[in-house]
């Protein structure tokens, strides 16, 4: 481990530690809004649907993801 570092002291500030370029906020924002909301809707169905709030009637969604909801830490019932 130490040997190459001693042999090549000039190698240390090499490419792997270079800071990656920033992505402009304007390029990220549209994705963040649309895909972000879609992902939150998915999380809502796994974590809360047919618990405290209900968009789909019945108990099917709640019962299907019951174990996942418990083990992922959401309040289930």
């Amino acid at each position: 481990m130490a040997q190459p570092a001693v042999a090549h002291p000039t190698v240390t500030p090499a490419a792997p530690t270079a800071v990656p370029a920033k992505l402009p906020i304007s390029a990220v924002a549209p994705w963040a809004v649309f895909v972000g909301i879609l992902m939150l809707v998915l999380l809502y169905f796994v974590g809360a649907e047919q618990g405290a709030t209900s968009l789909v009637s019945g108990e099917g969604v709640h019962e299907w993801v019951h174990d996942a909801r418990h083990l992922l830490g959401f309040p289930c019932h």
């Binding site: 040997q3 190459p4 490419a15 990656p20 906020i25 299907w64 019951h66 174990d67 996942a68 083990l71």
Partner: protein, 254 residues
């Protein structure tokens, strides 16, 4: 071009989330399911009103149902974390693509799960009063949102303090701010202690450790897999070099 980079990172994030979800699913099935079954056995032994017809059988709940929930959770958080990564990249200090991904995953684990968990821990079946479900759900999600916003605020605060205090002291100061505000939230938000008096303490402890293990697995695997994919996308030369030096113990001096 930048938008294409965002899309590529997002796709990789969701794939990494799926892979992490598969690992978390194994942990949930092996460590979590036996405890869920024990808790349901306790519930049925102590409940008089329970025992209606099952909508989804226990076998389906513990296999297909569990898989659906954990994998969707993995993909969804994979996507959200990849979007957060796009914002964080190059803005959080001198970290490369891989280190940034792992730092983000650790921050995600702490902010999304550990901080809310310490106040409102995961409960097995039989623990939790149905009458307080609305309140517990609201407070749980409030705690998650609060903790995530606070984590973002902490990073911004650290960045602002860094020129004056230096990186080390700024990180310590921002971390102390995070702990202080979380502590205040813990102190002022209502608590729930709804375990039945004779519910086995060991089972509750093991159940909560299993729930924590699921999340640690998910976020760690996500950070490592997504970091690898992101580095190949953003710095293919660096990725190739790090592989090259790993196989070649002593590079030829130049």
């Amino acid at each position: 071009m930048n938008s294409a980079t965002v899309r590529n990172l997002l796709v990789r994030g969701m794939l990494a989330g799926l892979a992490a979800g598969l690992l978390a699913l194994v942990v949930a099935y092996v460590l979590g399911e036996p405890r869920v079954d024990q808790a349901i056995a306790f519930e049925e032994a102590h409940s008089h009103e329970h025992g209606g017809e099952e909508l989804v059988s226990r076998t389906l709940q513990s296999t297909a149902g569990l898989s659906t929930g954990v994998l969707v959770y993995g993909v969804a958080f994979g996507g959200i974390a990849a979007l957060a990564y796009c914002f964080a990249l190059g803005r959080i200090g001198r970290f490369g693509p891989r280190a940034s991904a792992l730092l983000l995953a650790v921050a995600g684990l702490v902010a999304v799960y550990v901080v809310p968990f310490l106040k409102y821990p995961a409960n097995p079946p039989a623990v939790g009063n149905p009458d307080t479900l609305d309140q517990r759900t609201t407070l749980y999600f409030l705690m998650v949102v609060l903790s995530v916003l606070l984590a973002v605020g902490t990073v911004i605060l650290g960045k602002r303090l860094a020129p004056r205090l230096g990186n080390w002291n700024a990180t310590v100061a921002a971390g102390a701010f995070f702990v202080l505000v979380v502590g205040l939230a813990y102190a002022f938000l209502p608590s729930f202690n709804e375990a039945p008096a004779d519910f086995p303490a060991t089972l509750l402890w093991q159940y909560r450790l299993a729930a924590l293990a699921v999340q640690v697995t998910l976020w760690t695997a996500y950070g490592l897999v997504f970091g690898l994919l992101a580095e190949r996308l953003l710095a293919p030369h660096a990725a190739a070099e790090s592989r090259g030096t790993a196989t070649q113990a002593t590079p030829v001096p130049h």
